[in-house]
């Protein structure tokens, strides 16, 4: 079994942990958890943190009346409190064949996914796995519930949301064992996930997002419609980002696309322009729904980029509270 001998440090280096330690994964939206956590809950009532005053209406419990206000103004106001709750996080990792692309040489003790075994390189799927593992670790340390799904043309492997101690290991095991093949259909995967989701959830979608932006937009629209939050982590290899090739050769697609004769020197600028346009389009879509997009270079460490994303997110949440 490929997952035998799986070690946490294969995907979660001490440096990454150290870089993520100051951050908490905060949902920008109001969480709908059932256990006490550190996220806002829409359920207000007895809690430690005062939220607001509201005029008394028939049916409200008189236990929450603010008698001091009544004494001063002769009006009935009810005190409301914000309840801290836990967050549900579902990580959807793109397991399509395009994620098996990678140009960084793999070192001893790195990776261990199906893509690594096939390509003998640090692939986008490996980087996605490392990012997912880091996020899962962070959530579990906050006592949030985390689950993971590997998606391609539909959901393949899944680990249900849980905050148990063994959850992280189950997540990594799932990612390590799933094959990386076929095409990614984000809408179909999201539909399947939504069918399984009852609480409000933070969806973390990790993919290269090289597919049709329209299909992604429809998936994100469904998430928004159901009131979920989402983070988009775009995994791209350094060579895809820089296109630092100097060859004239046929290029063949990993997802069965036909070969194209390409002289990289002549199309470099056009390719980089196209990539820029594509990423901007996805960024625009995600921001339209209030979601975050972060591009990851697979030749760079997971920690700093993830830390930057969390920092930005934390800032936005804090700003929203104020």
């Amino acid at each position: 079994m490929a997952t035998q001998g799986l070690r946490a440090e294969q995907y979660l280096s001490p440096e990454t942990l150290a870089q993520l330690a100051p951050f908490e994964l905060r949902a920008k939206m109001v969480a709908d958890g059932v256990m006490n956590g550190m996220h806002q809950s829409p359920l207000q009532g007895m809690a430690v943190e005062f939220a607001a005053h509201r005029q008394y209406t028939a049916g409200d419990s008189i236990r929450h009346l603010d008698w001091k206000v009544f004494g001063r103004s002769d009006k009935l106001y009810v005190k409301e409190y914000r309840q801290e709750t836990n967050l549900d996080v579902m990580i959807l990792v793109d397991g399509s064949a395009s994620m098996s692309f990678g140009t960084l040489g793999v070192k001893q003790g790195w990776g261990g996914t199906d893509a690594t075994r096939r390509r003998a390189a640090w692939t986008k799927f490996d980087h996605a796995t490392a990012s997912a593992a880091a996020l899962a670790f962070l959530c579990l340390s906050q006592r949030d519930r985390v689950g993971v799904s590997v998606g391609a043309d539909g959901l393949r492997g899944s680990v249900r949301k849980s905050a148990t101690r063994d959850q992280w290991r189950s997540i990594v095991r799932c990612l390590s064992s799933e094959p990386v093949e076929s095409r990614f259909a984000p809408a179909a995967c999201i539909n399947q996930l939504l069918a399984q989701t009852s609480h409000r959830t933070l969806f973390v979608i990790i993919s290269d997002f090289l597919g049709d932006p329209e299909e992604l937009r429809s998936a994100l629209a469904r998430l928004r419609h159901r009131g979920h939050d989402a983070m988009l982590l775009a995994m791209l290899d350094h060579r895809e980002l820089a296109f630092d090739l100097d060859v004239e050769a046929p290029f063949v697609g990993l997802e069965g696309e036909s070969a194209i004769e390409v002289d990289t020197r002549t199309i470099r600028k056009a390719y980089l322009d196209e990539l820029q346009r594509h990423l901007q389009s996805i960024d625009r879509q995600s921001r339209a729904f209030g979601y975050d997009l972060q591009v990851f270079d697979t030749h760079e460490s997971v920690g700093p980029v993830l830390a930057a994303l969390l920092s930005r997110r934390e800032g936005m949440v804090a700003g929203g509270r104020r």
Binding site: L210, A259, V262
Partner: protein
């Protein structure tokens, strides 16, 4: 349009395919690359690849064009001109007269010179009325022999011309003829008549130059006898007599184009005592050089010999004069500067050197000791070799005498003192070796002992023992040595130690040579004195001193290195120098023509001495001559026979066309570079 060098034009056209082949080769080698972002790639390709492909094709065409134009320019476009038989012409005939083999008779009984002259006369007789003729000869300094005369007059003057005996400079002659004709306003033509056998052109003339005038080449028939040239004569044995004979090594070279095995007879003559010996130089398959070892019987009572080596005239290469290399051989005593031999100095440097000079008692060189402290002016007069074994005992007058003797042509071999008594002998010793040479005061002690390097630099001292040298230097250990430093222009290493430090150095001092050992040949400084290397090394060094002294009395014809005061040169009996007495002007140059190699009696107010006249050895070097290229060129210019010549060609090189082609190539190259830059501006560099 035709070409002077059509194969270069063809090569240029063929080279045009090179960029295309490289392009195709690189394309074929590429393996498919797997890629994830195919949709982006497809859109990028649709957007820009078509434009870029057109740009790259433009660059490829320009590159091909550059190669084609350069090839055409190198091919030297020429126009074949039809000459109007009735129009008066200015004709320059270039007659090849500069070769000894030009006078050798072919199977027809006519010499190559006569055939060439006949071809020239035929060309002149065919001229229409009103034409003028110039005649150039190629021997030695190119002679404008006949200047603008009527054809009949030119024919009669040509008939009186004889062959020259100096290297033929045909290219130079053709250039001069072209210059002379360019000044005239009438149609002009150059006729070159030569057998074009190997070496018939000078070493620079691989092919004839392009000319403004129409150039006509007439290749006359001549026997193409196998040829060779003598480059050196070296006395093999030390001393004048070993069983009443001296052994001489005569080195002979032959043209590179000749590869097969053959032999050349070599005759050695003692010009003083009229003795002759014959040997044979045998060239093995493919070898350009052969050595004939000739033993010459001499009078045991004679102490001086003048030796002339020669090969038959018809076997000499056509582009040099009589190829005799001359050496005078004498037995001159070796002077060893040390105190008289005492019983207590057993094992001194002088004793080891004396033993090396007479390994077999009675057959060695004559040598004598002189007290270095008593050395005065004139003490070393006539010495060929001086070995300074006790430099610390030499007075300033002694050093001055050593310097004078060295500059007069002697070899001075200096040996450090056996004890570490380093007084100031290093300073005059270094001064004798030359400017910039220094000798450190400290002795370098080697622990473990140093060895001599297995691969030694080549030097005249070790030339004859070069084959055995790696084996001979192997057992030698050096325990102590002095450190000698100096500029490479002054000092050259004869033997070096395995760390690269010199052990035996030499420097040329005017006509002589100064040498220094880094350690004295005594067992306390190293093992060299007791090893087999020592005897041949000492003997070869001393012999080199004699050779140098003899070479100092040799003169290369035309180089003007005659000793001061010489007023005339008289040929010595037995030497193949002709009978003419040569006059020498005050500057030391030989006046008049007819200087031929051989032994001459140099007459000066102070008396007479023997002088060896030699040809320049470099003129005998067969390396630059490439007859196959000339033959190929002649084959390219075939046209109907005329005037008794076997091959005639008429071509006029268009130098302006070549220039235009080169200019066009430069322009295209510039355009290619500019377009290349322009096209690549839009391509960002990979980050």
């Amino acid at each position: 349009m035709s070409f002077i060098s059509p194969w270069l034009a063809v090569a240029g056209a063929a080279a045009m395919a090179l960029p295309i082949l490289i392009h195709l080769f690189l394309r074929r080698r590429q393996k498919p690359i797997e890629w994830a972002a195919m949709e982006l790639l497809r859109r990028a390709v649709q957007q820009s690849q078509r434009t870029k492909r057109v740009e790259r094709w433009i660059l490829l065409v320009l590159r091909c064009l550059v190669l084609l134009l350069v090839g055409l320019a190198l091919g030297r476009p020429a126009t074949v001109t039809a000459i109007d038989a009735t129009q008066p012409l200015a004709l320059a005939v270039v007659l090849d007269d500069g070769a000894a083999s030009m006078v050798s008779s072919g199977s027809s009984g006519t010499t190559a010179f006569e055939a060439s002259r006949g071809a020239c006369i035929d060309a002149i007789r065919a001229l229409p009325v009103g034409s003028v003729v110039h005649v150039f000869t190629t021997s030695g300094l190119v002679q404008h022999t006949i200047d603008a005369v009527q054809p009949d007059r030119a024919v009669s003057l040509l008939a009186d011309l004889g062959p020259g005996y100096e290297p033929s400079r045909m290219r130079q002659a053709v250039d001069r003829a072209d210059d002379a004709l360019r000044r005239l306003s009438m149609p002009s033509r150059i006729v070159v008549a030569s057998p074009f056998t190997r070496g018939a052109i000078d070493t620079e003339a691989q092919v004839l130059p392009a000319t403004t005038a129409t150039l006509e080449v007439r290749k006359v028939d001549a026997d193409d006898a196998a040829t060779a040239a003598i480059v050196s004569v070296v006395q093999r044995t030390l001393g004048p007599q070993v069983a009443g004979a001296i052994t001489l090594d005569v080195t002979v070279v032959r043209p590179v184009a000749e590869r097969g095995r053959r032999s050349v007879p070599v005759t050695v003559t003692d010009a003083i005592h009229d003795r002759t010996a014959v040997g044979e130089a045998v060239f093995i398959e493919g070898a350009p050089r052969a050595v004939a070892t000739v033993m010459l019987q001499v009078d045991p009572s004679a102490t001086e010999h003048a030796v002339v080596a020669s090969i038959p005239a018809d076997r000499q290469p056509a582009d040099d004069t009589r190829a005799a290399t001359v050496s005078t051989v004498s037995a001159k005593p070796v002077i060893i500067l040390d105190r008289e031999r005492l019983d207590i100095d057993e094992g001194s440097s002088a004793q080891w050197i004396e033993r090396a000079l007479e390994p077999i008692p009675g057959l060695g060189l004559s040598h004598r000791r002189l007290d270095p402290a008593g050395l005065r002016e004139g003490s070393l007069q006539g010495a060929a070799s001086i070995v300074v074994c006790r430099p610390e005992l030499l007075e300033p007058a002694g050093w001055a005498e050593c310097t004078r003797a060295c500059e007069a042509g002697a070899l001075v071999l200096m040996v450090p003192p056996t004890e570490d008594t380093f007084v100031d002998w290093q300073v005059p010793c270094a001064a004798l070796l030359g400017d910039g040479v220094t000798i450190r005061r400290e002795v370098a002690r080697h622990d473990p002992a140093r060895r001599l390097a297995p691969q030694q630099p080549s030097s005249p001292i070790t030339q004859l023992i070069a084959a055995e040298l790696p084996e001979l230097v192997g057992p030698v250990m050096i325990d102590r040595s002095i450190v000698i430093e100096g500029p490479a222009t002054t000092l050259s290493s004869v033997l070096v130690m395995d760390d690269g430090q010199p052990w035996m150095v030499m420097s040329i001092r005017q006509r002589g040579v100064a040498m220094l050992l880094a350690s004295p040949p005594v067992p306390s400084w190293g093992s060299i004195a007791t090893k087999p290397l020592f005897v041949p090394l000492v003997q070869e060094t001393i012999r080199q001193g004699e050779v140098l002294l003899d070479a100092g009395q040799g003169v290369t014809i035309g180089a003007g290195r005659l000793p001061p005061g010489v007023t005339e040169l008289r040929p010595l009996r037995g030497a193949s120098t002709g009978d003419a007495v040569l006059t020498v002007d005050p500057s030391g140059s030989i006046v008049g023509e007819g200087a031929r190699p051989g032994i001459m009696q140099a007459i000066s107010p102070l008396g007479s001495s023997l002088i060896a006249l030699n040809v320049d050895a470099s003129a005998c070097d067969p390396q630059p001559n490439d007859p196959s290229r000339l033959a190929a060129w002649l084959n390219q210019t075939k046209s109907p026979n005329a005037g008794g010549a076997s091959t005639v060609s008429t071509k006029q090189a268009s130098s302006s066309a070549s220039a235009w082609l080169l200019a066009a190539a430069a322009l295209v190259l510039l355009a290619e570079t500019l377009l290349g830059r322009l096209f690549s501006v839009a391509e960002p560099k990979p980050s």
